[in-house]
C-alpha cells in the first residue's frame, strides 16, 4: 500500500445556508479544498462524495455525478463515487478515497461530504434521520434517533453513575470551542443551566444535548505521500483509516453503554498507525448527542469505562487547560452536523490543527490527531489517525 497524505482541506460555513442548494454547497466545499491544495481541475483523477439522504431530502440520487458535473469536472469524465453510511457517510467516503490512492490507481483524489437538511421541517428530519436505524424493528415501534441515544444514556447513568450534569458539560465545552470557530453553526458559549433547563427531546436528553439540523460541506484533497511531499510544504499523513460495523439495531448488541464498533475501529486504526492512544494530541469525536462523546472517550481508551463524565467535568478535554482537547472545532454539537459532511469536517479540523493554522483554536505542538465518525446508533464507525509531517 502507498502511504497517503492530505494536501488540501476546505469547508463551507455550517448552519442554515438559506441561499444554497446541495449542489452549491458541494461545489463550494470542493473548491475550497482544491484552492487550498493549489491544484488544477485537470489534476483530479477521482471524486468521492459522502452524502446521507439527498434522495429523500431533495428527490435527487446520483449525487457524485451531480457534484462532479457542477464542479466542471464532467468534461474530464473523472471517476466519481457516492458513499452512504448514515451519519458516517463522510468517514466511509474518506476511507474509500484513501484506498483509491493507496491502491496506486488514482494519484489525486478529492473527497467531500455534503448535506442539505434545513429545507426539510423538523418532523421530516426526524423521519429521515430515523432511516439510519432499523426501519422495521426500531423506527416502526417508535424509535427516533435521539431516543436510541437517550436509552444508551440512561443505561450509562445506571451502570456507571454518569449524571445529567456530566453529559451537559460536553455541550458546554463544545460550545466554548465552537465560539472560536468562524465556520461553526453556533459561535456562542452556553452555560450549564442552559443545557439542563432546555426542553426534553428524549429523556434524559434535552435540546442542548442534541446536535442541530445543519447544511454544510467539507472536502479534502488526497495524494500519495511521495507526491504530496514534493507538492506541499506540510501534508498531513493518514496513518490509520478503518471502518468497523455492528448490528444495525441497538437492541441486538450485548452492551448498551459502549459501542463495539468504536472499540474495534479505534484499535485497528491505532495498530495500523503504530501508535497508542497516549500518542494522540487532539481528537474530533462524534458527539451527535452529549452521551455519544462520553461513550467514545471510553471506547477509544482515552479514559476507562465509566470515567468519561467525571473527566469531561474536570476539564481534561477542554481546549483551555485540558490535556487532550476534544472537538476543538465545536464538534457536531456547535460546529453543526450536516450528516454527510461531518466525517470530512472532523478531518478538516484535524488538518488545520496539525498544520498550525487553527487560529484561536490552535492546540500548540500537536502532531497526531484522531477522528471518529459514527453512523446510526453505532452500526458503522470510522476512525482516522492523522500525523503532521
Amino acid at each position: 500500500m502507498r502511504d497517503v497524505a492530505i494536501v488540501g482541506a476546505g469547508t463551507t460555513k455550517f448552519g442554515e445556508l438559506w441561499n444554497d442548494s446541495l449542489r452549491d454547497i458541494g461545489i463550494q466545499a470542493g473548491f475550497a479544498a482544491i484552492q487550498d491544495a493549489k491544484i488544477e481541475s485537470h489534476d483530479i483523477d477521482a471524486l468521492y462524495v459522502g452524502n446521507m439522504a439527498a434522495g429523500r431530502y431533495i428527490a435527487q440520487e446520483h449525487v457524485a455525478a451531480l457534484i462532479t458535473d457542477y464542479s466542471g469536472l464532467s468534461s474530464r469524465h473523472i471517476s466519481a463515487t457516492r458513499v452512504e453510511a448514515a451519519c458516517a457517510s463522510g468517514g466511509v467516503a474518506l476511507h474509500n478515497a484513501y484506498l483509491a490512492v493507496a491502491s496506486g490507481m488514482y494519484d489525486t483524489v478529492v473527497v467531500g461530504g455534503a448535506e442539505k437538511m434545513t429545507d426539510a421541517t423538523d418532523a421530516e428530519n426526524t423521519e429521515i434521520l430515523a432511516a439510519s436505524a432499523d426501519a422495521q424493528w426500531e423506527t416502526f415501534f417508535g424509535a427516533t434517533f435521539p431516543a436510541l441515544f437517550a436509552m444508551m444514556a440512561r443505561a450509562h447513568m445506571q451502570e456507571h453513575g454518569t449524571t445529567r450534569e456530566q453529559m451537559a458539560q460536553v455541550a458546554v465545552k463544545n460550545h466554548a470551542h465552537g465560539a472560536l470557530n468562524p465556520n461553526a453553526q453556533f459561535q456562542k458559549e452556553i452555560d450549564l443551566d442552559t443545557v439542563l433547563n432546555a426542553g426534553m427531546v428524549a429523556d434524559p436528553l434535552g435540546v442542548f444535548d442534541c446536535s442541530p439540523i445543519s447544511d454544510g460541506g467539507s472536502a479534502l484533497v488526497l495524494m500519495p505521500l511521495e507526491k504530496a511531499l514534493s507538492h506541499t510544504k506540510r501534508p498531513v499523513i493518514i496513518r490509520g483509516s478503518t471502518i468497523a460495523t455492528d448490528t444495525l439495531g441497538l437492541h441486538a448488541r450485548p452492551k448498551l453503554t459502549s459501542m463495539a464498533a468504536t472499540k474495534v475501529a479505534g484499535q485497528r486504526a491505532l495498530t495500523q498507525a503504530k501508535k497508542t492512544i497516549a500518542d494522540i494530541h487532539l481528537a474530533e469525536l462524534h458527539d451527535c448527542f452529549t452521551i455519544a462523546e462520553l461513550i467514545a472517550l471510553e471506547d477509544l481508551g482515552f479514559v476507562k469505562a465509566g470515567e468519561a463524565g467525571a473527566a469531561v467535568a474536570e476539564g481534561r478535554f477542554h481546549l483551555k487547560g485540558g490535556q487532550m482537547p476534544v472537538n476543538t472545532s465545536g464538534g457536531l454539537k456547535a460546529r453543526g452536523h450536516p450528516c454527510g459532511a461531518t466525517g470530512i469536517a472532523q478531518v478538516v479540523e484535524a488538518v488545520f490543527q496539525l498544520q498550525g493554522r487553527a487560529g484561536a483554536r490552535q492546540v500548540k505542538g500537536a502532531t497526531t490527531a484522531l477522528t471518529h465518525n459514527v453512523g446510526g446508533s453505532g452500526a458503522t464507525v470510522t476512525v482516522h489517525v492523522l500525523e503532521a509531517t
Partner: protein
C-alpha cells in the same frame, strides 16, 4: 410522492403479532426479530434457524420518554420507549404502556400486550403489534 411506507410491513405481520423469532438449531441461541443466520454459528446455522415463539415476558434494560416523535405513525407524545430483555435471550425495542413515566425503572418486569402501533398518515393504514405493560400494575386501559 412516494407512499410506500405502508407496504412492506405485512411481511413481518405474523412475526409481530405472534412474537415469532428463530432459534439456532446448532447453539440454541434465540433471535427476535428472526435471522436466517446465527451470529455465532454463521454458515453452520443455515437451514437450522427454526421458528420459535417467545412467551412475551422480560425486564426493562433501559428506556426513554420520547417528546419529539416520528411523524409517520401519528403516535401521541410523550410516549415511553424501552429495550426489553426477553427471558429467552433477545432484546426488543418497544413502547411501554399502562404505566406513567415516573414509575418506570430499569429491571422492572414487563409482558407484551397487543396494541395499535400507529397509522401511516398518507395511506391511513393502521398497524398493530406488541407493546409492553408492567407485570405488577393493573391493566388500566383495555
Amino acid at each position: 410522492m412516494v407512499q410506500t411506507e405502508g407496504i412492506r410491513y405485512w411481511r413481518d405481520m405474523r412475526a409481530r403479532y405472534n412474537l415469532i423469532g428463530r432459534r439456532c438449531g446448532k447453539c440454541s441461541r434465540v433471535y427476535f426479530p428472526a435471522r436466517s443466520i446465527c451470529l455465532d454459528c454463521h454458515r453452520h446455522s443455515i437451514g437450522k434457524m427454526d421458528p420459535y415463539k417467545l412467551q412475551g415476558r422480560g425486564t426493562v434494560s433501559t428506556f426513554t420518554i420520547v417528546h419529539d416523535g416520528d411523524p409517520r405513525f401519528g403516535v401521541q407524545v410523550p410516549y415511553i420507549l424501552a429495550l426489553i430483555q426477553m427471558e429467552e435471550g433477545p432484546r426488543m425495542t418497544a413502547q411501554l404502556v399502562d404505566i406513567d413515566p415516573p414509575q418506570v425503572t430499569i429491571g422492572m418486569r414487563v409482558h407484551t400486550v397487543f396494541r395499535k402501533i400507529g397509522t401511516v398518515h398518507t395511506e391511513g393504514v393502521i398497524h398493530y403489534g406488541y407493546k409492553f405493560a408492567p407485570d405488577s400494575m393493573p391493566h388500566l386501559r383495555a
